[in-house]
């Protein structure tokens, strides 16, 4: 991996996975081929062989006894790596839509100390429904980030401590609630454009039905309005800094 990682820093990868036996093995193999970071797969009580496939590919698997959702699973991994003394955590989706090749671009600002959290953003993937949801979420929350729902992120230790707290446990998704919590803690959030592939199973878990999207938007609207920052956020403002070119 062509990232100048200070040797003292410990970096781990967290992948929440639910019924991803088709893609998880290839994803873990691809990650391990590129970087020697430990890979943690949180099996969100899958009905298929996700845990077996992940372990075979070389990941350490944390099996949840009850389905907690994507954020609950991600927080489990964050708590685990924090307890193990890790400094940086990369999160990505198990469905193969995030390219491990974008990892260096995502890590670089956090390693350089210019951001506490980086978010791999890909606004081109937005369907009309998703773009409408993003616009509503940005208006309600006051967050000025490009891709609020991306699960491809890097967190530094300060962010990990913030997210491991019990107050973050009630969140359902790794999106607006998480970002607002980080922003309220004064952490610097940074968009990093990345390329994303089509999901292997072709469908988003949220943006596939009007009913689910409606509920999701309602919850996010209430969350965004209730936790909206009252002070100026600690986000990096300048687009020239905020958008690190990483397109291959």
């Amino acid at each position: 991996m062509n990232v100048n990682t200070p040797s003292a820093l410990r970096i781990g990868v967290v992948i929440p996975a639910l019924n991803e036996s088709v893609s998880i093995g290839a994803l873990v193999t691809s990650l391990r081929a590129q970087a020697k970071y430990p890979v943690l797969v949180i099996d969100d009580c899958s009905d298929d062989d996700t845990a077996i496939m992940a372990a075979r590919a070389g990941a350490r698997v944390l099996p949840l006894a009850m389905r907690l959702g994507a954020w609950g699973a991600t927080q489990t991994g964050i708590r685990y790596l924090l307890r193990e003394g890790f400094d940086l955590v990369v999160t990505l989706d198990a469905d193969g839509q995030h390219e491990p090749t974008s990892l260096p671009a995502l890590l670089a600002p956090v390693l350089a100390g210019s951001a506490d959290v980086t978010i791999g953003s890909c606004t081109r993937r937005g369907s009309r429904l998703r773009l409408a949801a993003w616009m509503m979420m940005k208006t309600a929350s006051g967050l000025r980030l490009e891709d609020l729902t991306s699960g491809f992120r890097v967190y530094n230790r300060a962010a990990l401590v913030e997210l491991a707290d019990w107050r973050a446990t009630l969140l359902d998704y790794q999106d607006v609630g998480v970002l607002l919590r980080l922003q309220a803690a004064g952490l610097r959030l940074l968009d990093v454009p990345v390329t994303m592939r089509q999901r292997r199973d072709g469908a988003s878990r949220i943006f596939h039905s009007w009913r689910v999207v409606g509920l999701y938007m309602l919850y996010t609207l209430v969350l965004g309005l209730s936790k909206r920052a009252t002070r100026r956020p600690g986000r990096l403002q300048a687009p020239a800094i905020a958008h690190v070119e990483s397109e291959p």
């Binding site: 890979v39 949840l64 009850m66 609950g72 489990t76 708590r79 009630l170």
Partner: protein, 119 residues
């Protein structure tokens, strides 16, 4: 007649709650509040003029409206408190599930170690 029915319902609910606590099917912490509400219900049934008196005092022309408003407000507060308690329990349950998963990973690591996460 209606006041007698109200009083009867109040007493019936209070008795049912006492029985549920006695059979360990309801926590005394939750039951105590309901018994107070049920007894107030019964009291209003036996002395309906109390509502008329309070309604006149606060300037409500139709006294039953006061009883309904108070009853709905009490129920709303109770439901909200229940949701707050539910959220607290949900956090506890999720943290517990997460902790079990972490311990299970530790156990697996103990049985078949990999050095991936070692410093």
């Amino acid at each position: 007649m209606i006041s007698l029915i109200t009083a009867g319902i109040g007493l019936l609910v209070a008795t049912a709650i006492l029985l549920l606590i006695r059979r360990d099917q309801l926590h005394v912490r939750h039951g105590a509040g309901w018994i107070i509400v049920a007894l107030m219900f019964a009291g209003l049934g036996f002395a309906p003029s109390l509502v008329d008196w309070v309604a006149r005092l606060v300037g409500i022309a139709y006294p039953p409206a006061l009883a309904f408003v108070v009853a709905i407000a009490v129920l709303l507060i109770k439901i909200l408190l229940m949701d707050i308690e539910r959220a607290r329990q949900e956090v506890q349950l999720q943290r517990l599930v997460q902790r079990v998963a972490m311990l299970e990973a530790d156990l697996r690591q103990h049985i078949a170690p990999d050095d991936d996460l070692s410093p």
